[in-house]
């Protein structure tokens, strides 16, 4: 039934408008959390992956997916959470990183940071307000699990940095 009415691309398109609840200027698709859509006779299964294991937004995202699809007439929607392969900030699109910067959050650097890095000794994080690299880490943990707190020595503004994962 479903497969006759909607293609996989249709579903992706519908879902591409769902914003990340914590960074509403970016969609869950741009974040790389939307992994797959499987259409079968039983219905539509949407595969998502969490950015962080304890991400409290996952429940909300699941509800948003179900609501969006049912409002558009897609029946029998199931949302499945998978952990493998583990989400990485490298899956974020360049557009997403750009939108994030304009929103005031410094986007993640490339995730080559798999080694144990000494606390505070990090790559130069650019201030999203003035682009200065004269910035300093305040705390590795910010308002949400995915962000760190920085301050800019140039424009004196504090800002958040989306940690690389």
């Amino acid at each position: 039934m479903v497969t006759k009415k909607f293609t996989r691309e249709d579903i992706f398109k519908l879902l591409s408008f769902i914003p990340d609840p914590e960074i509403p200027v970016v969609s869950i698709k741009e974040m790389g959390m939307l992994r797959d859509v499987i259409l079968s006779d039983e219905g539509c299964e949407v595969i998502i992956t969490p950015t962080y294991t304890g991400c409290p937004a996952m429940g909300m995202i699941e509800d948003d997916i179900k609501r969006t699809l049912s409002e558009n007439g897609v029946p029998s929607v199931k949302v499945k959470l998978v952990y493998a392969p583990a989400w990485t900030t490298d899956w974020m699109s360049l557009e997403a990183k750009d939108k994030m910067r304009k929103y005031g959050i410094a986007p993640p650097m490339s995730s080559a940071c798999t080694k144990l890095t000494a606390y505070g000794k990090h790559e130069f994080i650019k201030c999203p307000h003035c682009n200065s690299t004269n910035t300093e880490l305040i705390s590795m943990f910010g308002s949400t699990a995915c962000k760190a707190l920085y301050k800019c020595e140039h424009c004196k503004e504090p800002f958040e940095y989306f940690k690389c994962h």
Binding site: Y52, T53, Y83, T114
Partner: protein, 252 residues
């Protein structure tokens, strides 16, 4: 014990460690020494509770009794919990919190790095996710150990005392039982002896950098592999499980 039972037992242990430590860290919400620390500790609590949900969810699935992660977290009594004793100890002061974080997050770092290679896909996947988070926890506790160790005479003494107090709970982290033996053969679990040296070297490195001394006592506490706990776990559970006990079918 068959393989299924062993995986259940193993996932339960990983889940319980994350759950109980997550609960302890969450208790520090609004009690951090500075606002940034408050955020850091509660963020780490969230990482642990998220990991607990993943492992307990998997344990429930393997057990096949139609239970959920919540059932396992909220409807078991102390003797059915398999978290290491160090996770349930109360936070006497900030130095105790940091000492536990240092000892545990370095253990978790080496454990989950190895478990990423587990032949059990789910354990490998959750571990891959965990290791990314633990990296930040370890950097955090290593940094604070140095700050307190090299700080004032008082902070140095408190940090040293905290490490001395917790040392006898570290032996248990590396204990194994029947479940480990079965799963090591299958390439699912790791031999904990294989990471003990790395763990010790890392911890010792941080302690030396912090101008502190590695505790030397050999006496080690034991019990959690058999579900035997300190008196503190009961108090944790009475708070954590209160709502589900009082209103058995309550849902969020």
């Amino acid at each position: 014990m068959n393989k299924q039972k062993a995986i259940f037992n193993y996932a339960l242990r990983l889940g319980d460690n994350s759950l109980v430590l997550g609960h302890r860290l969450a208790e520090l919400c609004s009690k951090g020494p500075i606002l940034e620390e408050d955020l850091a500790l509660t963020n780490m609590a969230l990482d642990h509770i998220g990991r607990a949900q993943a492992f307990l969810g998997y344990a429930a699935q393997v057990e096949g009794k139609n239970k959920t992660a919540d059932d396992l977290a909220y409807k078991r009594a102390e003797r059915s919990f398999y978290n290491n004793l160090i996770m349930e100890l109360p936070d006497k002061d900030f130095a105790a919190t940091i000492a536990r974080q240092l000892l545990v997050s370095s253990f978790e770092y080496f454990l989950y790095t190895e478990l990423m290679k587990s032949k059990d896909e789910t354990i490998a996947a959750i571990s891959a996710k965990a290791v990314k988070e633990v990296r930040y926890h370890l950097a955090h506790s290593s940094d604070w150990t140095c700050r307190l160790g090299e700080g004032t005479a008082v902070s140095h003494e408190k940090m040293q005392n905290a490490l001395n107090d917790l040392w006898m709970f570290t032996g248990e982290l590396f204990e194994m039982n029947d479940a480990d033996a079965i799963l090591i053969k299958e390439g699912i679990a790791i031999d904990l002896n294989s990471i003990k040296q790395q763990w010790l070297e890392h911890v010792n490195g941080v302690i030396l950098e912090a101008t502190l001394t590695l505790p030397s006592s050999d006496f080690m506490q034991t019990g959690s592999r058999k579900g035997i706990h300190t008196e503190y776990l009961g108090h944790i559970l009475s708070e954590m499980q209160y709502l589900q006990r009082a209103y058995p079918t309550a849902q969020w």
